[in-house]
């Protein structure tokens, strides 16, 4: 099993994200994750796949600190997320850009206002926020839609707004949950191309998807979850045979 970013010898390579024997059991007794270990290197893009209920969503929730592990440790850089409490939870979440399958846009705020949110949360100056938002919208082909409400956009445009919002604050890690779930193949390819370009800018990308065709085409590392266990960790070079 490939283990990118795992310690080797005396020098441990830096990682953006690291799961060490992480398990998650929900109050009803359902085990969503069981002893999952992997690491994400800086500037790496990888996929997490598996059937429904395999644990993909729980894995993403643990990264965002929407849930905490029952056992094991999730490390974000050198920071153990178990020790992130209180107000620091919000600070951690600002370091992770998240793209949701259902966009999670605020429907009563304009495209520009939605994209500006992470910058407002960071307390950035108004003028700088405007510049960054416009630049990000231009990059995603949404410049003309800045003042539109999300309800006035197509599904593809809404998804791009979600991506713009996730990227505008230049997070260290971008996590995407089924980002192309509702999109046609052309748009899916466009969005994946956008994600693939992010590592060059220093952003690591973790995409949860069950679209195997898309995953194969991207030729990136793939983590395969099965009933909460990490069943496989396939490096890009092996993907053609997977």
């Amino acid at each position: 099993m490939h283990d990118a970013g795992a310690p080797s010898g005396d020098t441990a390579p830096m990682t953006v994200l690291r799961f060490d024997n992480v398990s998650k059991q929900y109050p009803g007794g359902h085990v969503a994750l069981s002893e999952v270990s992997f690491a994400v290197a800086p500037g790496e893009m990888l996929f997490v796949t598996g059937h429904s209920g395999a644990g993909k969503s729980t894995l993403l929730k643990l990264i965002q600190l929407a849930e905490r592990p029952s056992r094991g440790a999730v490390l974000f850089g050198e920071k153990n997320l178990a020790k992130v409490r209180g107000g620091k939870v919000a600070l951690h979440r600002r370091s992770v850009g998240v793209v949701y399958q259902n966009h999670q846009l605020l429907m009563d705020r304009s495209v520009g206002e939605n994209v500006a949110l992470p910058l407002i949360l960071r307390g950035m100056k108004r003028g700088e926020i405007g510049k960054r938002v416009r630049s990000m919208l231009e990059r995603l082909g949404l410049a003309a839609r800045e003042r539109a409400l999300p309800s006035q956009l197509s599904a593809g445009e809404q998804q791009r707004v979600g991506i713009a919002r996730a990227l505008v604050a230049e997070p260290e890690l971008l996590v995407a949950d089924e980002p192309t779930g509702n999109l046609d193949p052309t748009l899916s390819a466009e969005i994946m191309a956008l994600f693939a370009a992010l590592p060059e800018r220093g952003t690591s990308v973790l995409v949860a998807s069950h679209d195997l065709g898309l995953i194969k085409r991207m030729k990136k590392r793939v983590l395969v979850l099965d009933q909460g266990r990490l069943a496989d960790d396939i490096p890009p070079e092996d993907l053609a045979d997977a």
Binding site: V16, Q25, E67, A90, H92, R93, R94, V98, G123, A169
Partner: protein
Amino acid sequence: MPDGTKRDKRVQSTGVGAWFDHHLYSLVASFGRFFRRPWATLLTIGVMAVALALPLGLWVVLNNVQRFAGEVQGSRQISVFLKDGTDAARANALAGELRKRADIAAVTLRTPEEGLQQLRTRSGLGDAIDALAATGDANPLPFLLLVTPSGDDLTLAESLRTLPEADLVQHDAVWRGRLDNWLRFGGRVALVLALLLGLGALLVVGNTVRLDIQSRREEIGVLQLLGASDGFIRRPFLYLGAWYGLAAGALALAMLTAAWMALRAPLADLASSYGSGFALQGVDQVQAAVVVGGATLLGWIGAGIVTGHFLRQTRPTSH
């Protein structure tokens, strides 16, 4: 891991400026939400205002009763009615003797003629008294000594009763004591009512803000996932609660002022018919500011409690 420090430098915070910006934004946005559902808002404010106006009204009434009782009690005078047959010279001499006593602060002698004149003006029986006077009957009123004690009035009243010239000594200590007790009881009732109804107002704001939180749960969830701090999420609700409190406080004052205006003139007429210049007092500017400020704080606290509870429920757990 990527150079997080470098990133943080690129996405700089402006600290106080941004904090102030968000406060301003929350203040204005919450004001907008305040008017978004006018009927619901009006009902909330109405219920709160009544809850505030009741103890406040009771307090105003007690304040006025206390003031009125103060006027009565302020004199602490003992009335000594002299026996029939006591002439003016003896009455004057007795008044002079009493003025020399250490336990007496002042003595006023009221002649039967002065008494009759006072009765004529205050009782409204002027015509009847004139008619009686016309029959040639002598003035039936005795000389009256109005004694103001300088020390213990009960002991002095007992001592005055032993004077050979004294026919009747009138001292309303028991009545005054009872009035004091009633006023203290009324004050305590107002305080208990204020606490209970204040709690009610707090719950009304809390419930309204809770409903607002429920209707914005999804939005709050998104903001939390994007990294909004508890303060960022709490702020608009705190301002909303404060707006409710402010409006309810102002409405409660308006209700009391309307009641005061309606009662002021008839009460003044009533007091005047008893020869009193008593006027109903409302709430002054400082008291009004305290009421509105207190109601605003109440709204803020109510919203804070509910929002805090909601935020605690949304913390990530390991179980």
